[in-house]
Structures are given as C-alpha cells and as structure tokens.
Symmetry: C2
Subunit: 317 residues, 2 copies
C-alpha cells in the first residue's frame, strides 16, 4: 500500500470516517510494513485516550458486561471504542462481530466504534497489534477504549497489559475453574467484578477474593487495593458501580504517578516486542537461506556441532 493512500485513510479516520478506521485496524491486524506505516502515523496520539481492559474466563459474561459498560459511558456523553480480541479464533472482524449480539444495542450509535480482532495465524502478532490498535482508536479521538479479551490465558494477559485499568471478571464458584490462574489474575486485576452475582455462591466468592487480597498486601503503603464489584450484566445491575470504580482507579493512578509509570513500562515492552519481531523475521529469512541448508547438512554429517553451525550462521550475515 502506498504511503499516500495510508495518509488519506488516516486523515479520513481522524475526521470521523468509520470505514476508514475499520480499514486501518485491518491493516494493523495484518502486521508487516503497512501496519508499521499506520503505527507511525498514530504514534503521536498515544495516551490521548484511556484504555480499560476486560478479561476473565470464557463464559464469564465479559461481552454482556462490556456492552452494559458502553451504555454507562454513553450516558455520560463519552465517545467509546471497543476492541474485542480473540487469540484463539481464526476469524477476524466481521465474522465474530456478527455473533456478538450483545453489542447490537450500540452498533447504530456513531459515537461507539466496535471491532473484533483475531489471530491471523500467529499469536505474538496480537500482542504487537493490540497497543497499535488502541493507539489508532486514540488517533481517531475515542476518549475511552474498552479492550475485551475472550479468555484468560497468557496471551490474553499480554494483551490486557495494553490497558490502563484492568477489570477481571469472575463468576460465583470461579475458584474451581481458574484455580491455576488465581495468582496471575491477582497480579493484573485493578478491579474485580463478580458477574452473575445473583447466582448461588456469590458471597463465598467475595469472601474468597477478599482473603486473597488481604494476603496480597495490596492497599497498603499507598498502593491501590482492587475493589470487588458485584454485577448482573444482563440486567445492568451494578454496572454503574463498575463505572464508578473505573473512574476512581483512573483518578488514583493519575494522582499517584502510577499511570505514567505503567505507560513507560508498556513502552519498554513494546520496544522489546518490536526488537523480537524484527529479529524473528531475520531468523526466518535465515532459515530459508542456502547458508542454513548448508549448516544443517554439516550438522547432519556431524562435521559441525549445532553451536558451531549457529556461530557461522550468525557471523556470516
């Protein structure tokens, strides 16, 4: 794609053209040099919006909760961008979006932009694409960006790291389902939501979470203690409380300097990812090379050991 046409798309997206924005996000999703062009244009706008990550086990009701939260933001007259990211799906944008009936309340609202992103092959790509997509939404003047992931694995956690405030959604009786991941969730949660809190076991789940938070030492020495919000997203019960908790967390980390610190850390992480992606591309190119084939033959013939072979490969180019 030419620089000129990317420039033109970008200008249209900034002026409010949703189709142009959708195309730019597709370009970011695909990765490569076009994605980098878009990323460079959007970069100066990074930090212009505020990003809320919403994560939790499949079936926890994240999509319904996100939709209800969009309603709260809209009542306050705020522009919203929603990115729903599914690392495990081979489908992109339209395909998933069609299924996301819960978002249908907002699809006709011009101040709400909703977009799904999926893998297109390689997982590492999404960890690179997510911050770039957030930035593109910031460049398109979305004040609030909701970043929803489908699962709660390592990839999802990496993606949610692109958010300023992270909401972890659990359900009554969650303990059994995500036993192994509890400690990980504790590390990333700024706010816990017990969704479907009208079900049995909600009180036990709250006690369980409070105990884990007590043990974690959060809330002392000027550190934020994640509040626990009970919601029933299908009826919007408690969603106002969640919105209040998000705003409280934002104020807290803005005042304490934690927001600036987090964003600086993210910037380092992004640099590291870009370095890794560049170097991986070089390794892949090298694997397809005659030098690699030669090295491999030498190793198979036991004329070189693998370390000597790699020494030669990395010295030669």
């Amino acid at each position: 794609m030419s620089m000129d046409s990317v420039d033109a798309l970008f200008a249209s997206a900034q002026a409010g053209d949703r189709r142009a924005l959708a195309r730019l996000l597709s370009i970011i999703e695909r990765g490569g040099s076009d994605a980098q062009m878009v990323g460079k244009l959007a970069f100066p706008h990074s930090g212009a919006g505020y990003t809320v990550g919403i994560t939790g086990a499949p079936g926890a009701g994240k999509s319904t909760l996100t939709s209800a939260l969009v309603g709260e933001l809209r009542r306050d007259g705020l522009g919203v961008g929603v990115l729903a990211i599914d690392p495990s799906s081979p489908f992109t944008g339209g395909a998933i979006l069609g299924d996301r009936v819960r978002m249908q309340d907002h699809v006709l609202d011009p101040e709400v932009f909703i977009r799904s992103m999926a893998t297109r092959g390689h997982l590492g790509g999404l960890a690179l694409a997510a911050p770039a997509a957030v930035r593109m939404l910031e460049a398109a003047q979305r004040e609030w960006i909701l970043l929803e992931t489908v699962g709660v694995g390592q990839v999802e956690v990496e993606i949610v790291e692109a958010a300023d405030t992270t909401v972890v959604v659990v359900n009554p009786g969650w303990g059994d389902a995500v036993q192994a991941n509890k400690a990980g969730l504790m590390e990333i949660a700024d706010i816990f939501v017990i969704n479907k809190s009208d079900r049995t076991g909600a009180a036990d789940t709250r006690t369980d979470l409070e105990q884990m938070l007590d043990l974690s030492g959060l809330g002392h020495d000027g550190r934020w203690r994640p509040p626990i919000v009970s919601t029933t997203a299908t009826t919007c019960a408690g969603v106002g409380d969640l919105w209040a908790a998000i705003q409280a967390h934002r104020s807290f980390i803005e005042a304490s300097g934690e927001l600036a610190h987090r964003r600086a850390e993210r910037s380092s992480d992004e640099l590291e990812r870009i370095i890794r992606a560049r170097i991986t591309a070089r390794v892949d190119a090298r694997r397809a090379s005659a030098a690699f084939d030669h090295a491999r033959a030498e190793v198979l013939g036991k004329r070189l050991d693998p370390w000597e072979a790699v020494d030669q490969l990395l010295t030669d180019s």
Copy 2:
C-alpha cells in the same frame, strides 16, 4: 566450570559412572555455556540410541506405564535411560524423583538410569535441554531412552519432538478431558495407548480413536497408521503389546527412511532454537543497556516512534 573438569566428568559418565552422568544432566538443565560444553562433547553420539516419547494428560498413568515398559526392555537385556520432564514444576531431579514411587522397581538396577528434569525458570529452556539430555544419555551408551512428559500442552509436545517414536496415553472417557487437543495429539502420536483399559468406556474410546484415524487418512500411501494398544499398567497387562508396537514402529520408520527424515527435521529445529536463544540473549543484553534506556526516553518524549527507536538500536550494535 573448566573444560578439563567437564571432560573428566564426561569420560566418567561414558565409562558408566552414574553420578557423573547425573551431574552432566544437571549442567544441561541449567543451560548456558557449561551446558553448551557438555552438548558439544555429546553431539557426536547423537542417534546412537533410540528415543521413545511418552505423553498424555496428567493422571493418565504415564509414570506407571513407563515403569512397566522399562521392565519389558530389561527382560530383553537392554540398557535404559528414563527422562521424566515436568515443565510446570519448579523442582528438579531429586525432588520429583522422590515422589516417583512407581519407578522404585528399577532404582537399584544399574542398567536403568532415571532422571527428572524441570523448568528452572524458563520454559523455552526445556525444549533446548531435552534433546541435549537425550544425546548425553546416548553418549553414556543407553540404547533405549524413554522421554516422559507430565502434561500434554504445547511445551510437552515440543519436548516429545525430541523422540523417534511418540506414544500418546489416553484413558477411557478421555474425549471430554482433552477435546481441544485431540487434533494436536493425532499429529504427534505414532502409537496410542488406552491405559486403565479395564475401566468402563474403553471400547468407546477405541471406536473414537479409530474413527479419528480413519478421517486422518493415516495408513495409506505407505504412511504408518498408529496402532491402538490397550493396557492396564498397574498389572502390566498389554505392556508387552506396547513394546512390540514400539519395535514395529521403529522397524517401519527405519525401513521407510522416515526416521532419517525426522532426525534431519529435528536437527533443523534445534539449529533454529539455538539461533533464537542466542538472539534472545542479545536482545536481553540490549534491554539492559544505556542505549535502550535512551531509546525508551526518546519514545516516551515522542521524539522517536518505536520503530525508529528499534532501527537505531539494531543498527548501533
């Protein structure tokens, strides 16, 4: 560690000193330059033994089955090395081994060498360490090497790729437990074992597997069709059949050229892993550098975008 002392340990291990062998495997497990020294010494012996990978979901009875299989090998007078690899455990060697009561039948047999390996921090390390450990056992003249993993995730699959023949252990009713991973297991299995086959559902599980194999198209065009062996490892029932199936698979892939092909592929994969490890070390070093801090500050100040910053970092050194 000095080259001389590594040389001396290596000579002892080759001469049958089990403690020297254990120490060398610990060195391989730790990674780094000492591991590379050992790897270089062992390299000429690669392919001298034959490696059988045994994988399957936790609780499938892999450890009991491995122990029973060792019994079969010993009845045939063969020397055996067992590597039990647990990517999720922070414990190494001795610690796990203490729990592996099922292996106790063999701990006093000088012709059986049993060793556990765990993560020591980073997962990628085991995928590098496993083939090196196998090679060390080959150098120590183990004719048969059993490589047992604890789970069946992506890491375990990478580890099992170091094996010549891969045995996938399932249980009656496995379908629900590993639904998501069925296709992946189909790809790696050379032999399926239905262990605990005295339990209800064993016949259904066999039908299920046969249908999957029918769909896979394996067994045609000169390709191997994985046999399904029923065992009850606790009573050794069917373990003789498993041993026969392993020998049949070995003969098949030796005759067809598939063994040589697999080993060549593994050699490429190992080269690639070594390249990645080297480059990752370089990236890590760079992240700790003043140049990285400078680049990061430039990006935070929005004087450079992240791609420009990485360009500068990768050009400078």
